[in-house]
Amino acid sequence: MRRRALIGCAQCLALSSLLGPAASRAQSSWLAPPRFERPDVASEEGGLWAMMDREETRLRRSPFILRDAGLQTYLQDMASKLAGSHAPDVRVYPVRTPFFNASMAPNGMMQVWTGLLLRVDNEAQLAAVLGHEIGHYMQRHTLERLRDIKSRSAFGMFMSMFGLVGLVGQMAAIAGAFGFSRDQERQADHIGLALMRQAGYDTREAAKVWDNLRLELAAVHGGDPSQRSPLFASHPGSAERSGTLAELAAGDSGGYLGEEEHRRALAGLQAQMLDDELKRGQTNETLALLNRLIERQPERADLLYSRGEARRLRAAVGDPELAYADFERAVALGSEPAECHRALGYLHRSRDQADRAREAFTRYIDKAPAAPDAALIKSLL
């Protein structure tokens, strides 16, 4: 059955290159393998699962896990919808880390980082990434990589017989084994799109995930995201990826977007995610992200404050004026975070507007009397 699924997928890949958009419809006929049975612990796959089981036990206790029952259920339901008959074997863990990433272990443990949750515009875009991860799981890509590592290790051991040069060879062999191969990533993309389609999502959103991330990374890396993102480093070029996904989805129309549901599921986490994003200090990337988010939701005071603060901290030519406009707009909307007044106070202070600074700092302390920097702010009054 699995062999048939692989052949089916390979046929789809071959067809898609020949037929273009027409092939996208063939993707929906992709057959998922049947549910996996737990491998024998004495086998190499069993050993891999045992290792991941230990990692999952550690992850459950991790302080980085988001213990938000609503979000957990939302993500688990999404993954279940995408995984079909494999749903009982896939377990999703939201992890508080402000980078764009998700990962899938061979035992069904999936991690979704908050940096990804912040960056997708709707449920369909998130489904594209989760579907891709489930694609790795269904094709047992990790096992393939393990076998690859083993063959590289044998090569490495041979090289180590030649001293330092051998050591370098060994390290290079191990380094090459990290992550999935580009072909595996391409295959996971195709399967992810097929799973999206089967679950009723709008597949045209998949390409937008990579387009958006490309814009953000280009703000720093001059259009070459592979220079930075661990995700892009092992994945096909983002232009190729976006182009292929757009082509595969070209024959589709309609489908579920889930923008409101996505916003509702993340509503309680927005302040924390934005704060973590600012803490990264990567203001160019953050501004590219926030410009896009504000374009979609111009009435959100928290986004305006965050963009203003990123500009205030970057302090390039023209940034203070733009930051001031964002803070004022956030205050006018009336749901600004307390930190917005602190930021206004610092801006006024840098312009030697002592009275206005005092007024803004006073407002901050009124709104957040227990703030960790209250003592310092009071010393400025």
């Binding site: 990962s103 930075r228 661990p230 600012l278 200090g281 602190r342 310092l376």
Partner: protein, 197 residues
């Protein structure tokens, strides 16, 4: 996007330790007066170990228990427009630049961006005015959880911008045992810091 995170973590740690062993000489800091950087003088009441080289990214760093446990870091003589922290930031990362016009909160933000670059968490617990280097500076306390091993750490730092140059000394250690054990000694040491003319 798979369990490469685990492999990467192990490999990076292994590689870092390997390189550190080759390139990071450890010297003993004896009791008495020590000079850090060009002109930072410190009165030392107990022996420390000083690390140099790659593991500390060129920032003079002392430790009592070992560099992966506790770290007393000295950021000294940082001029307007100069990079804060590692002189060679990771490839593709926007460098953290100090500006002489920065307020204490902005310097804390700069410090926290260094601490969180590997995905570690950072929480500011307290920021207050404090005497440092014989003048008005600031002091802050923070908590972090290291991403690589999920150890909760507690930290304290003192900073001051003096004649347009930033001086900042920070100490962090595991929250439960080592931080409370060494905090009084560290605070005493930081209060003794002065600048040689």
């Amino acid at each position: 996007m798979n369990y490469k995170n685990i492999f990467s973590r192990l490999a990076i740690m292994g590689l870092a330790l390997l390189l550190a062993a080759c390139a990071a000489p450890v010297t003993r800091v004896e009791v008495g007066e020590a000079t850090i950087g060009k002109r930072l003088a410190v009165k030392v009441d107990a022996a420390w170990n000083q690390f140099g080289g790659g593991l500390t990214n060129g920032v003079p760093t002392w430790t009592m228990e070992g560099i992966t446990i506790d770290a007393l870091s000295f950021y000294t003589d940082i001029k307007d427009g100069q990079t804060f922290g590692p002189s060679n930031p990771p490839k593709g990362r926007q460098p953290v630049i100090f500006k002489a016009s920065m307020q204490p909160a902005d310097i804390v933000a700069m410090f926290q961006s260094l601490q969180t670059q590997d995905g570690s968490s950072f929480t500011l617990d307290k920021l207050e005015p404090a005497q440092f280097l014989g003048g008005q500076g600031f002091r802050f306390e923070y908590s972090t959880v290291r991403k690589v091993d999920e150890v909760p750490l507690k930290g304290v730092a003192y900073g001051r911008v003096r004649d347009g140059e930033l001086f900042l000394v920070s100490y962090s250690a595991p929250r439960l045992v080592f931080f409370p054990r060494y905090q009084p000694r560290v605070e005493g040491l930081i209060k003794s810091v002065s600048l040689r003319s």
